[in-house]
Amino acid sequence: MSLSGLNTAAIARALAQMGDRPDDHVEAFFERRERLELAPEGEACGMRLRREEGLAVRLVRERRTWLASRDEISANSLADALRQTARVLPVAPYPLPKLTAGSWSTSEPVAPLLDFTPALHRAVRRRHVAFPLLISVRQHQRWVQVVGPRLVPEAEHESFYSIVATMPSGRYGALFTQLDAAAVETVAGCLVSRFQARQAAQISTGRRPVVLAAAAAAVFLHEAVAHALEADVLAQGGGRPESAVGLRLGSPGLHVLDDPGAAPPHVARRTDDEGNQVCRRWLLRDGVVEQPLADARWANLCPALVPGAGRRGSRHEPPGPRSSYLELLPGELTLDELLSKAENGLFIEEVSRGHLDPLDGTFVLDAPYARRIRSGAIAEAVGRLRLRGTVAGLLASVRGIGREVEVAGAGWCAKGGTMLPVWASAPALRLAEVEVRG
């Protein structure tokens, strides 16, 4: 196991010297990353391997943070980082801990990467369509070890795959924990749907009912609930994040949780990137805000908040509150029942991106295409569209929740320029009349 060779006890002793005030938060963060990529056909350097490792030391004191990071795991680099982060020189410094991160484990077999692209081309052809398609497949692995002055959680390991498909009408991206036949069919289905909808008519701007399929509902909730309830985002409005607790944000019956421990195998976490235990966090219970997402710093500033949602883009970035695995609890309606109450509405299978303005709560969700709902059935496609409204308005417009939960809607979250993988499971959702722009 990578990072298993670290002398965590010696590191903890060194860190204990830095936190010379009772409320100081001090930690050392060690990480290793590997990315193996099979580039699109027609490009040079078809197989690309990236390996990196390093460490960061952080001191949080009241409202100030000091962080030092290095691209190397060694006693000297840790000592340098400790010296740059510490505010006072220790009276009697401990000797430098010996740091041996251990050898890299052998790379996973590349067969899943090599097999995916031909399988995807076959799956597209089976649907009797053909279009130019460039596919990049990547395997991502990450090992994390956090060391605090008192607690040393177990090392964490994440492993997953990302796909980027480029076609004339645009790019499609998705994350999977396994590159199996189901992943191939999911990607092929999305690409073919996009291709077939490429010349679909634009809809006119107006208010109409919308049914979001599981993947689209997951992205909707990630943007509208998870981002809206991150402590740093809540603070941007000028108020205290804990003041959101108890507010009604969504319709009754809307239960949204973040539970990194329940995520699919290979990406589930026991602790976050600050070494705090993750928890099953009810973001919305019956539409009411219960526990916003917080990292250690925000939990320290606002005692009503619970840490355990601190995530880092890399050792060079400080952690921030982010969701990992979002769950929307199921309702009781079948998809047919959801569609039957959305006459003349739209069925949105996938969403390309969403954006929340934390200052005014404005929210937009872009979809590459959608399908009309006629007589309770899914009908012809319409072209690119945008859902627009306020977070509170859109969440209050939830009128029905499906009963079939799917693990769907995984993707890269790019808040503040920091790319993080996010995962979700959700059923379909019906929204009452919402503003849709063609």
Partner: protein, 460 residues
């Protein structure tokens, strides 16, 4: 137990031992200090980054391997795959270049950096009562790169960049109409040295943006003369990159060229210069170790050549060393040093370094504003907008002022500037002298532009 770090020559020898006809090793080490002020506190961080990258292969296939730390020979290089690799041969660089002295300036200290950001905050409050700097982030960094290839290319270069991002809000004056809610403005700047950033000037720009955003009203669909400030014009130049850079640029430009051979109005000349004196990314070589230089891409509205790296030429089946200089007038595409590496983690990709519209030395902005009878002075962009080259259309979210008889009469926001891309290029009537660079895709520069034939409409 891993073996000790290897030198560049050791790595090349190892690649040769593995029978790679072409091999290249690139190393980069850098350090940066990042200072950040948010509403909830202040962050100070110091980063040291070290990494290397290898490209290797032959005519049939190739690989890319990269890692943090120093290069090691026991790295498990992946099996070559994909297309083959042909690395550029060395070219004698006859042009003189002297490394700027500010490359040796020390990084901004913690107190110095915090004081710079706090000073911007203070000046903003002075300029616009009630305005708040909700986020300021300054990163000051320096790096050294080394490159060696089996073709004989050897290069070493340094760089020095300070990047600043500011975000501010203002609730606006009560009872003056305009947009409801809180106005927000963001601003990016980059200099070679952070000490060149002027807090008062930055605060003034933020204040102007906030004022327009808070008090502006949406226009009806209107036409007239559009005066684009450098902040807006640079985004347009960046969006036009597909016409100037990389594989297929010549073909894309040809589609928009008129029967007289003009791609744009004769007022427009576009240049890329990797050695621009004082430029943020000024360097003697690019990410493949090839010499950089000044390249005229468009002259008086006529397309001259695309910005192509050696890799682009190889993609088009041409060899870069067959026609290394355009002075011969062969008409063939030429390769220049324009392969950029975003970091040691990334493959070199062709792209502009300092891409800019050539300014006209004698035309001030005041003269340009004064010459407008009915039109708009657009000073800020909402986001990069949409440029659809296939359908020759573009739309840009903008903010600015209505101008009547040479005077700004009312703020405009939010609004969309739109029209055809060819109309935009051919509609340029005048170019100012206030060349300003913005950190976009490389450093992109433009002076104020006066354009006719475009449409401005309210957001919707």
């Amino acid at each position: 137990m891993s073996r000790p770090p290897a030198s560049l020559d050791d790595v090349l020898a190892e690649l040769a031992r593995r029978d790679f006809e072409h091999g290249e090793i690139y190393t980069k080490s850098g350090r940066s200090r990042r200072i950040e002020i948010r509403q909830d506190g202040e962050d100070v961080s110091f980063h040291e980054e070290v990494g290397w990258a290898v490209r290797a292969g032959d005519e049939r296939s190739s690989l890319f391997a990269t890692a943090s730390g120093k290069p090691r020979l026991d790295f498990p290089f992946p099996e070559p795959d994909g297309l083959g690799l042909r690395l550029p041969d060395p070219v004698v660089d006859t042009a003189r270049w002297k490394e700027p002295s500010d490359f040796d300036a020390p990084l901004l200290g913690e107190r110095e950096g915090l004081e710079l950001l706090r000073s911007i905050h203070r000046h903003l409050e002075e300029e616009l009562r009630g305005a708040r700097l909700i986020h300021a982030r300054l990163e000051d960094g320096a790096s050294e790169s080394h490159l060696a290839s089996s073709r004989g290319v050897r290069a070493a270069w340094r760089s020095r960049v300070a990047a600043l991002r500011l975000e501010a809000t203002w609730r606006g004056p009560a009872g003056r109409g305009g947009n409801q809610g809180i106005a927000r403005a963001t601003f990016f700047a980059a200099e070679r040295e952070a000490r060149a950033l002027n807090p008062r000037a930055l605060a003034r720009r933020l204040a102007a943006r906030l004022t327009v955003a808070a008090t502006g009203t949406a226009p009806q669909q209107e036409e007239g003369q559009m005066l684009l400030a450098p902040e807006v014009a640079t985004q347009i130049v960046a969006a036009l990159r597909p016409l100037f850079c990389g594989h297929g640029a010549t073909q894309r430009a040809a589609l928009l060229t008129d029967q007289q051979g003009q791609l744009a109005s004769s007022a427009l000349s576009v240049i890329d210069d990797g050695r621009l004196a004082g430029g943020t990314f000024e360097a003697p070589v690019d990410g493949e170790g090839m010499a950089t230089r000044r390249v005229v891409l468009m002259e008086d509205g006529r397309f001259r050549q695309a910005l192509l790296s050696h890799g682009d030429l190889a993609h088009e089946g041409l060899r870069g060393d067959e026609n290394p200089h355009d002075e011969r007038g062969t008409g063939l595409p030429i390769a220049v040093g324009c392969a950029r590496r975003t970091s040691w983690r990334d493959l070199p990709r062709s792209g502009p370094t300092h891409l800019y519209v050539k300014p006209r030395r004698d035309l001030t902005v005041a003269t340009m504003v004064g010459g407008i009878e009915h039109g708009y002075y657009l000073i800020e962009l909402g986001d990069p907008g949409r440029f659809d080259f296939a359908n020759d259309r573009f739309t840009l979210p903008v903010r600015g002022f209505r101008v009547e008889d040479g005077r700004a009469t009312a703020p405009i926001a939010p609004a969309w500037l739109g029209g055809s891309i060819s109309g935009l290029l051919h509609g340029i009537r005048a170019v100012g002298r206030d060349l300003t660079f913005m950190p976009l895709d490389g450093m992109i520069g433009s002076p104020t532009l006066l354009i006719e034939g475009l449409t401005l409409r309210g957001a919707g």
